[in-house]
């Protein structure tokens, strides 16, 4: 039945298409990170396991979201946010693990997790409890609150504790890696608000008529870039560092 559903993906349905490719890409990335874990030094194994967990959790959710979307044609908001509530804090764990050798304390991890959960919970309220037909004030208010969490993570990655610890690490590979992850937060994470603003009552929906179907399109693109990209950066740091 599921295979038949897959076969019915309309050729012009970019959302369904990205759900399927997203699922396969996440799964492939998970397998890659798990197998490559054996090739890096012990100190990097946990980081690669986290990368694999991020993409694997996403793959499982994409499997369900893909079917949900094909069956109902609606945005799988709850599944999406369950996925993010698990995977985004794990990305914060990656930041922590990278800078741990330079003296990162567990407090840093908690601050990043709280900021990311704040960002997600506010985003979820903004999206899941948006009144029928969309309410701009509701979307703007919760979008604003969510952005505060994002800006905190962005600051930490570029100027705050993470950036300072990376600068003090004396390891050029870690410095470059943390900077690359900071770029992911700046550019990659910024794709999500574009999707958020496409929902009914959202700014892009109202001002430019971008339909709510675009919500999942942007989220799927952002997920592929951020989750797999994030993992590949960590992998690149691990493999480069292990070769030395």
């Amino acid at each position: 039945m599921i295979l038949l559903d897959v076969l019915t993906i309309p050729k012009d349905d970019a959302v369904a298409f990205t759900f399927f490719t997203g699922y396969m890409a996440m799964l492939a990335a998970s397998i890659f990170f798990i197998f490559e874990r054996g090739r890096v030094d012990d100190k990097w194994k946990l980081s690669l396991l986290i990368s694999a967990l991020i993409t694997f959790i996403a793959a499982v959710h994409y499997y369900y979201m893909r079917d949900y979307y094909l069956a109902t044609g609606e945005n799988p908001t709850s599944l999406r946010y369950i996925d993010w509530t698990l995977t985004v804090p794990l990305m914060c764990v990656e930041f922590y693990l990278l800078t741990k050798a330079a003296g990162a304390k567990i407090g840093l991890l908690w601050k990043l997790i709280i900021a990311s959960v704040w960002m997600l919970v506010a985003g979820y309220i903004g999206e899941a409890f948006n009144p029928e037909g969309g309410d701009t004030t509701h979307s703007v208010l919760w979008g604003f609150l969510s952005t505060i969490g994002y800006i905190y993570v962005l600051y930490t990655a570029w100027f705050g504790e993470v950036a300072k610890l990376a600068a003090a690490s004396n390891n050029p590979v870690v410095k470059r890696g943390v900077r690359t992850l900071a770029w992911f937060v700046l550019v990659g994470w910024a794709i999500y608000p574009i999707g958020y603003m496409c929902m009914p009552g959202g700014w892009l929906n109202t001002a430019f008529g971008w339909g709510s179907g675009n919500v999942d399109l942007f989220y799927n693109i952002a997920d592929a870039i951020n989750k797999i990209g994030f993992g590949l950066v960590v992998y690149s740091i691990a493999i480069t560092s292990s070769r030395k």
Partner: protein
């Protein structure tokens, strides 16, 4: 160069970070507010422009006198002569005065944006300063041409400047300047005069500034750029420079230093506005503000050019 050697700048400056954060936080509210009239925009933006924008030019005398034999009194005299000359130019040839103001501002904006990248900027860097500035200023005008035309049509004084706001001229200027800016950025990067990461950051910044001008009402968009990306960055550079020369030893000292001429400028503008209000001066508020801003910009551009050569 001071700012570079002390390592205070990452590829993302604090000014860029604050700009991105403010842009993301303000944008939804501006959208939710719907159409904001020019006078409402002015009421929202004026405090920021006055108290955060003006201070960055309020210590031109202190900066210029560093390593210079000229006395403070002489400097202020020359400064006032330049201002007076500019006012006369506005009275005789307003379109020339306006064009001069735009061109000098363009160079000045670009210079402050890229000041931390090069100790001795080559001709290509100087060209980048200019075209970057032209790109954002023409973008500001082009994306808000409707609002500008409303303003132009309201007052006769602006009629002399309308030829410079012809939509096609502004569009071609914007496209040309933006293309040249990107070519120069890539060229400098290929020549190893600009880091590849800096190329990405500056591409992102110019894109964000232009998106900001496109999405926001003209004055709010410009204030966001001018106060944060320009004035805040310049103030920070000025503070660090004067701190290194032991002229100031704390932010409080620095605030005290910029305060007199900031308050004098604000008081002067308020006085002129009062004269208009009392019908002693017969000139529209907006037009007067344009002349005042251009008059204080003119000498400031030269002082800042020297300042950037100094640090």
């Amino acid at each position: 160069m001071l700012v570079k050697s002390t390592g205070i700048y990452s590829i993302m400056t604090k000014a860029i970070f604050v700009f991105i954060a403010s842009f993301l936080l303000i944008l939804p509210f501006v959208f939710n507010a719907g159409d904001i009239t020019l006078s409402s925009q002015l009421m929202i933006c004026a405090p920021f422009l006055f108290f955060l924008g003006i201070p960055h030019g309020a210590i031109d005398n202190v900066l210029f006198l560093r390593g210079n034999q000229i006395k403070n009194r002489e400097f202020i005299g020359v400064y006032l002569v330049i201002i007076a000359s500019n006012i006369i130019l506005w009275m005789i040839l307003p379109s020339i005065a306006y064009l001069l103001f735009l061109l000098l501002s363009a160079y000045h904006f670009g210079q402050s944006q890229f000041s931390h990248y090069s100790d001795k900027p080559s001709l290509f860097y100087k060209a980048l300063y200019f075209f970057w500035g032209v790109s954002i200023l023409s973008g500001l005008v082009y994306f808000n041409i409707g609002e500008i035309q409303v303003l132009m049509n309201q007052q006769d004084e602006f009629a002399a400047l309308s030829s410079l706001h012809e939509e096609s001229i502004v569009l071609y200027t914007f496209l040309l300047a933006t293309c040249i800016t990107f070519v120069l950025l890539v060229f400098l990067s290929i020549k190893n005069l600009l880091d590849l990461e800096a190329l990405f950051m500056e591409t992102l910044v110019i894109a964000l500034v232009l998106i900001c001008f496109y999405l926001m009402p003209i004055l709010i968009g410009f204030t966001l750029y001018f106060v944060i990306l320009h004035s805040f960055k310049v103030l920070r550079e000025e503070y660090l420079f004067l701190n290194s020369k032991k002229v100031v030893n704390s932010i409080g000292n620095f605030v005290k230093l910029v305060m007199p001429f900031t308050l004098l400028s604000i008081g002067g503008i308020a006085l002129l506005f009062g004269l208009i209000y009392l019908n002693i001066l017969s000139i529209p508020y907006g037009y007067l503000l344009l002349i005042v801003i251009s008059s204080i910009t003119l000498p400031h551009v030269f002082v800042m050019n020297r300042f950037y050569n100094l640090i």
